[in-house]
């Protein structure tokens, strides 16, 4: 399934920010006193939420079990799934 160009663009932006968050999470698990890293973590967490809100307005919910809002009708279950794009 090929999605509009903007789908891939926005998704890649989210993947980039979320990668920083994953990597910082592991780093902070073993360096819990690094204040600069925690500041960067919180900043990226904010950026990630902003980007996801924008993505979800166009392409539907990203997160399961109520962490994203649903429109009507229920659209969480809609394709495409990540392996289909």
């Amino acid at each position: 399934m090929t999605m509009p160009e903007n789908y891939y663009k926005l998704l890649e932006k989210i993947q980039a920010v979320d990668f920083v968050l994953v990597d910082l999470t592991l780093y902070l698990d073993t360096h819990p006193d690094d204040l600069e890293a925690i500041k960067q973590f919180n900043q990226k967490s904010y950026e990630s939420r902003q980007l996801k809100a924008e993505f979800e307005r166009q392409f539907g919910p990203l997160l399961q079990y109520g962490l994203s809002y649903s429109s009507y009708p229920w659209n969480w279950k809609d394709a495409p799934w990540p392996w289909q794009v």
Partner: protein
């Protein structure tokens, strides 16, 4: 509990249908040092490892499931348009007979995944050294697959996964040091 996110951790693109590469990649899906083994190994160790490093095992174990999904996506994309004849030509005739196009947890040589791939020793240092070895073995496996692959899109994603093995290994080394420090501190008092 876990919350699913409808995205891959890193984009997975393939240039063309290529069941031969899928046959090799399945090593990282259901092989001894593959992503399923990694995820189950770390998440299972969480319960009995000292609190100081539970978070790391929890978070690396969770990331491994994202890697498992990336590998599954690669295999799916490399085989979804293959004909039975193409699968057979790629050495996947026996696989096709048993599974059609379905994904199965097995290694590249066809052995099904088994819990004997993972240990649970209960000794934190022994468990963490197993984890470090597992990451290094997975890194090497990614390298051997990249060496056999001529698909630049696939290799881009594989290189991402190879780098993650290195980071995980480094974090596990740090976890060992954290536990050693704690042990030495206890001896002083």
């Amino acid at each position: 509990m876990w919350v699913y996110e409808k995205k891959l951790q890193y984009p997975v693109k393939v240039s063309t249908c290529n069941p031969r590469l899928a046959k090799y990649l399945i090593e990282q899906y259901g092989g001894a040092d593959g992503e399923l083994s990694a995820a189950l190994r770390y998440l299972n160790q969480r319960y009995t490892i000292p609190d100081k490093v539970v978070g790391l095992l929890n978070d690396i174990g969770t990331e491994e499931f994202a890697h498992l999904e990336m590998i599954a996506t690669m295999i799916y994309k490399l085989t979804k348009d293959a004909t039975p004849a193409q699968l057979e030509e790629a050495g996947l005739g026996e696989y096709y007979v048993n599974h059609d196009q379905a994904l199965y947890y097995q290694n590249a040589a066809g052995s099904p995944w088994t819990a004997t791939y993972i240990q649970a020793k209960g000794d934190p240092i022994a468990d963490l050294y197993e984890d470090i070895a597992a990451e290094e073995k997975a890194r090497a496996t990614y390298q051997w697959i990249i060496d056999l692959s001529d698909d630049p899109f696939l290799n881009d994603s594989l290189k991402f996964l190879r780098e993650r093995e290195i980071v995980h290994s480094q974090r596990f080394h740090e976890a060992v040091e954290i536990l050693k420090e704690e042990r030495d501190r206890k001896k002083i008092f």
